[in-house]
């Protein structure tokens, strides 16, 4: 459909992962890479306890999703992630869309949008 390849990169709540996977599958972009990450944003810091001593946890556990698309419009993918990951509380996360210069499929040797 288009020659452009985009990387949709999202940071979401870990417990929203299965909803987001469902949402991505529904827009036809089921392939993704998932990483456990920690990050800081608008979500307020939590207080941890260890042996009666409090400590601040301002890096929250998040899941990073990377989804490279060519045929499916990146904005549809990003909106699907937003819809699935939303709770209206601070800490829902962010989605970024980045251009991708080139793609190679390792098994077949295909390049460009075909490789995605």
């Amino acid at each position: 459909m288009s020659d452009e390849i985009k990387l949709v990169m999202a940071y979401i709540r870990p417990d929203k992962l299965s909803d987001v996977k469902q949402g991505l599958a529904e827009v036809g972009a089921p392939s993704l890479t998932v990483t456990n990450v920690s990050g800081r944003g608008s979500q307020p810091a939590k207080t941890g306890q260890w042996r009666g001593e409090e400590y601040s946890v301002d890096l929250h556990q998040k899941v990073k999703i990377e989804c490279v698309v060519a045929d499916i419009p990146a904005d549809e993918v990003a909106e699907a992630i937003c819809a699935a990951a939303k709770t209206d509380e601070k800490g829902d996360g962010k989605v970024f869309v980045l251009p991708v210069d080139e793609a190679y499929q390792i098994r077949t040797g295909k390049t460009g949008p075909e490789a995605v």
Binding site: G48, Q49, W50, R51, G52, E53, E54, Y55
Partner: protein, 467 residues
């Protein structure tokens, strides 16, 4: 007790067989406490020091059993001889378990050894994450050769300073109550750990520039709690097994004694855990699993000396007192004494053992006391003081010698890097290791990490960009 098996299979032979099979089984259970200590301590340290704390726990056992066989058990017997009026000093007799064990001498030695190694392994939890490994090995040797063995020497076996036949016991007319070693084993280990933690110094970052404590959370609550439960499992061997006679030579089944011991062990453990859970919820707002685990163990320690001597409600009260004191006592050690006792061994093993043992006469079951409560209380306080003073002084000397010989601490850089890497060259949780680069070092190919590659002539190329 040495046992000569008669040729005819009478009740004496049967009772010896039953009792020594029981003793062997409980020894294996007590050995399993090493597993509990290893997991408990590993869970309470950061991931970069897990291998080191496991090494220290294994060292306590593997070095300790050799030391306790060659010397420790004999030293214990010699201390008993020296502190009992009317007993001659007999080094050859003290080493008799090696030269002339009889039918049961080696089983009796093993029964003593598993207790010795329990005392030794407590220390590692207090000095975790910053103590030099070589210095620790030296301390473990001293712990199993001298510091601990003196304690059963003065308190157990009917001879020694604190027994009713010893100098102090003889003067007061009563013996010291510490059934399975709340003070002889646990307080000894806990105080040696406290002295060690003080002398080694706090971990980097434990106290800020104002001297206020900063939390250093351990890496696995799962390991800490599982270790606690494994320890509690082994503790049944420790306490109930100390009721070593199941069937007397006259054929009497000692069920009532075994029952009181197992009941008070269980009730003390439960009460300790409940009290710590409640206190932690009141103090921190939510019930805390680590405090609960510590309280469970503190309850066990508190009743360890008392289990055959106190009523069932006495067992519960001892557990409640010890469990409730865990959190405030630990805070006192950290906030007032400024000692970085990583795993809380002083409160769990030290103060809990002292309190539980001193209070035995207060909660005594009918027929246990042979004199007035006051006389027994005085004996208990003196006994705790003697064991406490010996342990603290001996530990100061031993850690001092270790400091002079090897240095107690690793360097700041090694501490920062983690003792797994700096002391042992390993990682407890390695990731992304495999065949990458392994074959390239000799073949001269580009290494996967882009690092230095040597060609056949041994000349390093720059950045792995070879030939």
């Amino acid at each position: 007790m040495s046992v000569a098996l008669p040729l005819q299979a009478g009740i004496e032979a049967i009772s010896s067989g039953v009792n020594y099979v029981w003793i062997l089984v409980v020894c294996f259970l007590i050995f399993f406490m090493q597993t509990g200590f290893a997991l408990l301590e590993a869970g309470q340290v950061r991931a970069k020091n897990v291998g080191n704390v496991l090494m220290k726990n294994m060292t306590d056992w593997v070095v300790g059993v050799l030391v306790f066989f060659i010397f420790g058990a004999a030293f214990s017997a010699m201390i008993g001889q020296l502190t009992t009026p009317g007993l001659a000093f007999d080094p050859a007799g003290a080493f008799g378990y090696i030269t002339d064990p009889g039918a049961a001498g080696w089983i009796d030695w093993f029964f003593g050894a598993v207790f010795a190694m329990t005392a030794a392994t407590i220390v590692s939890g207090a000095v975790a994450e910053r103590m030099n490994f070589t210095a620790y090995v030296f301390v473990a040797v001293a712990m199993t050769a001298v510091i601990y063995p003196a304690m059963p020497g003065i308190a157990w076996g009917g001879t020694g300073l604190l027994s009713s036949n010893g100098f102090i016991g003889d003067a007061l007319g009563v013996g010291y109550f510490d059934f399975a070693g709340a003070t002889v084993v646990h307080m000894c280990g806990g105080l040696a750990g406290l002295v060690g933690a003080k002398m080694v110094g706090a971990r980097a970052g434990r106290f800020d520039s104002n001297g206020d404590s900063q939390a250093i959370p351990g890496h696995s609550m799962l390991l800490a709690v599982l270790g606690t439960l494994f320890l509690a499992f082994g503790w049944y061997g420790f306490n109930v097994g100390t009721q070593a006679t199941v069937l007397t030579a006259e054929g009497e089944f000692m069920g009532a004694a075994l029952g009181r011991v197992v009941l008070n062990t269980t009730l003390g453990m439960g009460a300790g855990g409940v009290a710590a859970m409640v206190v932690s919820a009141a103090w921190q707002g939510k019930p805390d699993p680590l405090w609960t685990a510590n309280g469970l163990l503190a309850g066990l320690v508190a009743v360890t000396g008392a289990v055959p001597h106190v009523t069932w409600w006495g067992g519960i009260l001892l557990g409640l007192i010890a469990g409730a004191l865990v959190l405030p006592t630990f805070r006192w050690v950290v906030d007032s004494l400024k000692i970085d006792d990583v795993c809380g061994v002083f409160v769990v093993h030290g103060s809990s053992g002292a309190i539980g043992t001193i209070l035995i006469p207060v909660f005594a079951a009918p027929g246990v006391l042979s004199a007035g409560v006051g006389t027994h209380l005085a004996m208990q306080v003196i006994g705790v003081a003697v064991i406490g003073i010996w342990t603290v002084l001996a530990s100061i000397v031993v850690f001092g010698i270790a400091d002079a010989l090897f240095g107690l601490r690793v360097s700041d850089a090694e501490e920062e890097e983690g003792l797994d890497s700096s002391e042992h060259g390993i990682s407890a949780y390695p990731e992304f290791v495999g065949d990458s680069g392994a074959g390239s070092r000799s073949s001269g190919a580009v290494s996967a990490d882009g690092g230095r590659v040597e060609t056949d002539g041994g000349v390093a190329t720059d950045g792995g960009d070879n030939e």
